[in-house]
Amino acid sequence: MRKLGAVAATGVVLLVLALAGWMRAPLPAAQGGATISGKVKFTGAKPTMPKIDMTEEPKCKAKYTAAPPTDEAVVVNANGTLANVFVYVKAGLPEGYKAPAPAGPVTLDQDGCRYHPHVLGILVGQQLAIKNSDGILHNIKAKGTKNRPFNISQPTVMTSDRTFTAPEVMVPLECNVHGWMHAWLGVLPHPFFAVSGSDGSFTIKGLPPGTYTVEAWQEKYGTQTATVTVAGSETKTADFTFAAK
C-alpha cells in the first residue's frame, strides 16, 4: 500500500514536471528525444548592479517608470537563481551531425535603449533580425573574432538582417552611442542551446543519445561545464552553480 502511494506520488510529480516543461517550451523538439534540463544557481552576496543614467535619451528613460534601469551583467532572479546564462552542448554530438534548417530569424530588439534579449543563441547561417524599436539612433556592432564584424547605423525604426558563418561563443554586440548597451550572441552549428530564464531554469531538447559536454556561460563569472549522458527520450538534470566574486 505504502509502496503504491509512493509510486503514485512520483507519477504525479513527474506529470507536473513534464507539464511544466511542456508549458515553458511549447515548441516541438527538433530531432532525437533526450532532454537536458536544470537550474543555474547562485551563491554568495547578490551584487549591486550600477544604475544606468539615460538622461541623454529621454525617450528611453521614460520607459522605466517603476525603477531606474540597471546594468544586466548579473541578473539574480527572485528565487536566487541566475538569468541570462547561456547553456549549450559544447561537445559530444555524433560525427557528421547535421543541424536542421533554422525555422526563421532570431530577433534582437533595441527597446528602451537596451537589448532584448540580453543573451541569445543562433545557428550558423540563421538570420539575425536586428530591430530598432526605439526610433532613436543606435549603432549595432558585432565584435566576434571567428566571425567577421559589422557595425550598422540605425537612426530610425528599422530592421537589419545579418548572418554568422562560424560557431562562436560568444559574439559581443554593442551600441557605441549608448555605452551601456551590450548583448551576447552564441553562434552554434546545432540547436542544442538555451538561456536560463527568470526562474533560472533551462531546457535543451531533442538530443540524440550520447555523452555530452554541456557548458554554462555567464557574462561576468565565466564558464562551467558538466558531462551528461542521455539515452532514448530520457531527461537528465544538470545544475550549475556560480559563486559571487
Binding site: 541623454e56 549603432n139 567577421r148 559589422f150 550598422i152 547605423s153 537612426p155 528599422m158 549608448h178
Partner: protein, 524 residues
C-alpha cells in the same frame, strides 16, 4: 627533409587570391615588415610593437583582419588595393606615415602579402572581397541647398551624438567611446579634414559613410540607403556638408603672422567682428617628447592665430579645437582611460585629475639688436640662463599671467600683466591677449615694434586629456610681424591721378564743343 621542403616552399613566390598584383613574395614581405613595420605593429602583427604603448590611436592589429579604411562593406575584408593605399598614403592624424617613395613598389606589394598572413580570414575562400559600387559625386557640392540638405541629415541620422553639434567631436557619447580593443577613441573633429584617416575629400568621406570604419564606433550607413531611409544623393550631401566644415585646402604653415595696423582701439573680445576681416595662420603643435614627463598623444593638434595692432596695443587671437571645457567631471573617466592607455615616463600610476585647459604664447625677452643676430632662446620654454617671456592663460581659474619661463618647471610671474578674454563655443576655444606694444620693463618684457620679426611660439594643454606641466603640445619658433600702416599716399595718388585725368578730359571735350558751336554759328 620536410623542413627543407617547407623552407623552399616559403621562399618561392606564390600568388595570393583576390590579388590584382601578379606576384607577391611573403618572404621578402616579411623582411620589409621586420625592418620597417614591426617596431609599431609587433613581430606577430598584433599591433604591440615596442613603440605601440606610446601611441593613441594604437597601431593596427593585423591578426583580426579588421581595417578602418576600406572600399568594402562593413565587416568585410579589405581589398589588396585598400591595404596598398594605407601603406602608400599613410593614415593622416595617426603615427602611420606614407611609404610611397620610401619603399619600392615591389616591397610594398610584398609587405601587403605578408600582412595578410597574420589572419586566417585572408586564406578563407568563402570570404567575399569586393569593393562596393560607389556612385559618382553629384554636382552642386558647395551650394547652399546641398549643404542645407547635408546638415539636415547630419542631425536626423544622429552624427551629432558623437561628432557634436558643430562637428568638433564633442557630442554627448564622445567621452564613452572605445575601439574594439577597448582603447579610448576620439570622435573625429570634422573641422580638420586633413587629419581624416581615409582622406579628407567629399568622395573619401562618402566612402567612409558607406563602409564605416571597422574596429571603431563609426558605423556604415549603407543599410539606410538599402532601406530607403535616405537616398544615395542625400548621403552625398551629408559628405559634402562634412567636407564644408574644414577649410577648402589643408592649412599651409607659414612662418610669419602678419598683424595689420587698424584704426584703434584694438579688439579685446574673441568674438569682435574685426577678426572676421583679419587673415588667420595655422601652426601645428606636437607632443612634448624632449624632456622627461614626455607626452605622445597631444590633444591640441594646432592653433589658428590672428593679430592686429593700432600702433599702441597688440591684440593676438589664438583659437583651437578642444572637445571639453576643462575641468569637466563628466570627462574624468575618459581622461583616466587615456592616461592608462598612453604610456608615459613619469613615475607612479596615472590618475585622472580635473586639470584646466591652458595656452601659452612665448617670446624672447628682447628682440635682437640687428636682424643678423637672430639667436633665439631654447624653444622649449628657455633655460635657466636664457629665459623666455610668456603669456599664460588657464581656463580655471580663468586668468592670464605674464612672466619669465626658465625651462618647463620654472615660471616667475612679472608684475606687468597681459589682458586676456576667452570664449568656449561647441568645442572651440577663442582667446584674445592684449598688451601695450611698449612697456616700462624693457629688460624682461618683449618690446613689440612694427617692422620687426618678433619670434613667437605656442604651447597648448587639454586638461581633460590629463595634460599639465610637461605633458603638453608644443610648437617651434615662428615670427610675428606688426605691419606698418600703408602710407596714405598709396591710396590717394591713384585717386588724384584719376581726378586729374578726368578734369583734363573734360577741358578737352568742352573746348571741342565750344569750337564746334562757334563754327556752326559762323556757318549759319
Amino acid at each position: 627533409m620536410i623542413s627543407a621542403l617547407l623552407l623552399l616552399a616559403g621562399a618561392a613566390p606564390f600568388p595570393i587570391s583576390h590579388s590584382p598584383f601578379p606576384v607577391q613574395d611573403t618572404t621578402r614581405g616579411k623582411a620589409v615588415y621586420v625592418k620597417w613595420c614591426a617596431g609599431c605593429h609587433g613581430d606577430g602583427g598584433a599591433g604591440d610593437g615596442v613603440a605601440a604603448a606610446h601611441m593613441l590611436p594604437r597601431p593596427r592589429n593585423f591578426t583580426g583582419a579588421i581595417y578602418k579604411i576600406r572600399t568594402t562593406a562593413s565587416g568585410q575584408l579589405p581589398t589588396d588595393a585598400d591595404l596598398m593605399r594605407a601603406i602608400d598614403e599613410g593614415l593622416p592624424g595617426s603615427a602611420m606615415p606614407a611609404w610611397k617613395g620610401r619603399l619600392s613598389d615591389a616591397e610594398r606589394r610584398d609587405v601587403v602579402a605578408y600582412i595578410k598572413t597574420f589572419s586566417s580570414f585572408f586564406a578563407d575562400t568563402s570570404q567575399h572581397v569586393a569593393a562596393l559600387k560607389f556612385s559618382g559625386e553629384p554636382s552642386g557640392a558647395t551650394g547652399a541647398t546641398a549643404l542645407k540638405t547635408g546638415r539636415q541629415f547630419y542631425d536626423s541620422i544622429g552624427c551629432r551624438k558623437c561628432h557634436g553639434d558643430q562637428g568638433r567631436g564633442d557630442g554627448p557619447s564622445a567621452r564613452t567611446l572605445k575601439d574594439d580593443a577597448g582603447f579610448p577613441i576620439f570622435a573625429a573633429d570634422l573641422h580638420q579634414s586633413w587629419r581624416f584617416r581615409g582622406g579628407g575629400s567629399a568622395v573619401e568621406i562618402y566612402h567612409r559613410l558607406r563602409t564605416g570604419l571597422d574596429g571603431t564606433p563609426m558605423p556604415s550607413f549603407s543599410d539606410l540607403i538599402d532601406q530607403k531611409f535616405l537616398t544615395d544623393e542625400q548621403l552625398w550631401r551629408l559628405a559634402q556638408y562634412v567636407r564644408s566644415l574644414s577649410p577648402p585646402e589643408p592649412p599651409e604653415v607659414r612662418d610669419v603672422i602678419h598683424a595689420p595696423q587698424i584704426v584703434g582701439p584694438t579688439p579685446v573680445s574673441p568674438d569682435d567682428s574685426t577678426w572676421a576681416r583679419v587673415g588667420r595662420y595655422w601652426f601645428p603643435l606636437v607632443g612634448q617628447v624632449v624632456r622627461k614627463g614626455r607626452w605622445f598623444a597631444p590633444a591640441v593638434t594646432g592653433v589658428w592665430v590672428q593679430g592686429v595692432h593700432d600702433g599702441r596695443t597688440l591684440a593676438l587671437r589664438v583659437s583651437w579645437d578642444d572637445r571639453t571645457q576643462s575641468p569637466d567631471s563628466a570627462w574624468l573617466p575618459f581622461e583616466q582611460r587615456v592616461l592608462e592607455t598612453v604610456a608615459g615616463d613619469d613615475s607612479g600610476p596615472p590618475k585622472a585629475e580635473p586639470w584646466p585647459d591652458q595656452l601659452a604664447v612665448q617670446f624672447p625677452r628682447r628682440l635682437p639688436e640687428s636682424p643678423a643676430g637672430m639667436e633665439r632662446p631654447y624653444f622649449l620654454m628657455g633655460s635657466e640662463t636664457d629665459p623666455v617671456y610668456q603669456w599664460r592663460w588657464t581656463s580655471s581659474p580663468r586668468k592670464s599671467l605674464a612672466g619669465l619661463a626658465r625651462g618647463i618647471d620654472r615660471f616667475d610671474t612679472l608684475p606687468g600683466a597681459v589682458a586676456a578674454q576667452a570664449s568656449f563655443d561647441h568645442g572651440e576655444w577663442r582667446l584674445v591677449f592684449t598688451r601695450a606694444l611698449a612697456t616700462p620693463d624693457t629688460a624682461n618684457e618683449v618690446q613689440l615694434a612694427a617692422g620687426r620679426a618678433i619670434p613667437v611660439a605656442f604651447f597648448g594643454w587639454d586638461g581633460s586629456s590629463g595634460e599639465h606641466g610637461s605633458r603638453m603640445a608644443v610648437s617651434t619658433w615662428y615670427f610675428l610681424a606688426l605691419d606698418r600702416p600703408t602710407p596714405p599716399g598709396v591710396f590717394i595718388s591713384p585717386v588724384l591721378a584719376m581726378l586729374v585725368t578726368l578734369g583734363l578730359g573734360l577741358v578737352v571735350v568742352r573746348r571741342a564743343q565750344r569750337r564746334a558751336t562757334a563754327r556752326a554759328g559762323r556757318q549759319r
